[in-house]
Amino acid sequence: MNIALVSALIFLFALSVPVAVAIALSAIFGITFFSNLPLLVVPQKMFNALDSFPLLAIPFFILAGNIMTRGGVSRRLVDFAKGLVGGVQGGLASSCVITCMIFAAISGSSVATTFAVGAILIPAMVKHGYPTPVAATIQAASAELGVVIPPSIPMILYAVATETSVTQLFIAGIGPGLVIGVALLVMVQIWCRLKGYGKEDGANREPFLKVTLNAFWALMLPVIIIGGIYGGIFTPTEAAAVSAVYALVVGLFVYRELKFSDLPDIFRISAVSTGAVMLIIAAAGLFSFLVSLSDIPSLIGSWARGSFDSWITFLLFVNVLLFVVGMFVETSAAILVLAPILAPVAVAYGVDPVHFGIIMIVNLAMGMITPPLGVNLFAAATVARTPVQSMFRPLVFPVTSVILSLALITYIPAITLWLRDMSVAAGG
């Protein structure tokens, strides 16, 4: 059964069957030929995978991202970041990282971040002489922060799959998000100096005070989201809906860049993106039911439990495993299938489940920019209108810096846990 499942999946992926359909069809194949299960389980598991309140955050985040892009919120955030760091060589690329960090504090999705920020910054970088693949790569890598800095859809998925606290994961993501952000900033600076990119980035920069004032309502959004969650006004799931409504109000009535006539299109586009992502989650729910019924989880679990002499080697194994998985498997599916298997083993090795969740998310977020399957690559390539393959070589720079950050995050648990421990102590 298990070998049949995996070979069918690889075969269907190779044929370029859409990911959701490939996952579901390989499950259908396995059920029909290698089990006594009724095929009724196909709609049943797909339905129930979607029938979960925390998952409602996904459509709302995607919607909020689209509203912010159309409503002028994203552009003002970019102007603000340019005002902040845009003066030096490579300043535009650095603005890209900074904007993504701010945007990440609003959006729970890296793809949404890529579209919202990339739509403005990729053309700007290309105009300032960055090669298109390089601009697309910097954008794709920076947008990875969308799921590391809270709020974050994968964190919600991990929390659902392992019954960990969403809010604790959110708090725990802040430190690692800053570490990766700084690593990307350093990388961008080195890269630009090595290759001579971005010498003219200081041109056309507006005064810092002006762009900050302009961006005031946009910058309030992360404040409202974070304040609302930690102030007990709404849950992380509800925060996603609130941010969509807020962005709508700011776009329509404050910045007035959004017209009511734009709304149907925004909802139509958001619905398609949501459908594509949620169908993958539905199919992954079916697939992981088959995996859960089999003895693979307990086999991997008991093998991993007995095979390492400490948490240090265990986490090394996990990181290598996730890196390989992240190359081929979509983040949500990887978390839904692997988190319930690996998290209990990690706990047995004395790793905090929140720390472990962050390791999984940072690693799989890197999977979004590693070929062959990387959703951020596809998204950035779409925005930049460049072939995905053209980004493979430049990707060496950001991937290296993320791997270094991941090593720090894995082996210095305090990066993840100190803020969480402080807030738990304060809340208790």
Binding site: L37, P38, L40, V41, Q44, K45, N48, D51, S52, F53, P54, A159, V160, E163, S165, V166, T167, Q168, I229, Y230, G231, G232, I233, F234, T235, P236, T237, F289, S292, L293, D295, P297, P340, P344, V424, G427, G428
Partner: protein
């Protein structure tokens, strides 16, 4: 034969205790012909999802609370009424007797074979504001409830603001003050270290929360008569182990809560609450009839 038993809590729990006792008993009775896999932590799905899975035959067995069961067998809603049972003894006796059996018989038309009543125990209220001694103390308090009409009607009647919320958001919602309190059996308080996020517990015992040992009818129909007898006997062992675990939890629970600085209210105005929740009884009787309700009341006179 291989049987998967789905439970949503971890293996170390009152359900896990039942599942483990079932596994040990049936593997002994069948001399290893029937093997059991305990699938804990909800890996096979949430409770409603597992009930559906048993209906279509994709999951063989489960130990499940009655939380989602009312959607399938509405007759069980009567058990959600507040202050229905006086004590553990009367709840267990009534459910093990003809009234309980009458309810179990209603499952078969839904494709589920109900093997007996296990339990979660009595539900108590926790909150972060002040001790709850009488109905006045609960006025306007945002209490998380399950998605259950009767529970919500009861808390509404008592003057609280019931807030249904999915369990994975509850602990953080309590911590952040999005809601003020929640209600659950003692074992859930302990398992979730409720003292991290709550200050007060009232041992209200407002609802006795039963649980069920269930088998898919598809699986049941595929068993020989011998195997069916083994399953019945193993289910009895499961229920006994589960009840022992709950009793032990109830005993040590109060002490554990106090050790962690929780203010535990044992002495509260039960009659006042019983009065306050009467509208929920009336609404219930109107909707579902009062036949079983009267039987349960008569049995406790």
């Amino acid at each position: 034969k291989e049987l998967n038993i789905a439970i949503t809590p971890p293996e170390e729990s009152h359900y896990g205790a039942g599942a483990k006792a079932f596994k040990a008993k049936i593997e002994e009775l069948s001399k290893g012909d029937v093997t059991v896999n305990i699938k804990a932590n909800g890996v096979l799905g949430g409770e409603r999802e597992v009930l559906e899975g048993m209906q279509i035959g994709s999951i063989e067995m489960a130990v499940t609370s009655t939380g989602a069961v009312g959607g399938f067998v509405p007759d069980t809603y009567v058990l959600d009424l507040p202050f229905l049972f006086k004590s553990y003894d009367s709840a267990r006796t009534i459910l093990d007797g003809p009234i309980g059996q009458g309810l179990l018989d209603k499952f078969e038309p839904q494709g589920l074979v109900a093997l007996g009543w296990a339990e979660n125990g009595f539900r108590h209220i926790t909150n972060s504001k002040h001790p709850i001694k009488g109905p006045d103390d609960i006025k306007g308090m945002k209490i998380r409830t399950m998605e259950n009409d009767i529970h919500i009607a009861a808390f509404n009647a008592a003057g609280a603001a019931p807030t249904p919320m999915s369990w994975n958001e509850v602990i953080t919602a309590l911590q952040q003050g999005t809601i003020d309190g929640q209600e659950n059996p003692m074992s859930i308080f302990i398992a979730n270290k409720i003292w991290d996020v709550q200050k007060y517990v009232t041992l209200s015992g407002h609802v006795y929360s039963p649980a069920l040992v269930l088998m898919s009818k598809v699986t049941w129909d595929g068993l020989s008569d011998d195997e069916k007898a083994w399953v019945r006997e193993a289910a009895k062992a499961a229920i006994q182990a589960n009840r022992d675990y709950v009793s032990k939890n109830e005993e040590i629970g109060i002490k554990t809560l106090r050790e962690h600085g929780i203010d535990v209210t044992e002495d509260f105005d039960r009659d006042g609450f019983v009065q306050a929740v009467q509208p929920a009884y009336e609404a219930f009787s109107e909707k579902y009839g009062s036949e079983v309700l009267d039987q349960i009341r008569d049995a406790q006179k």
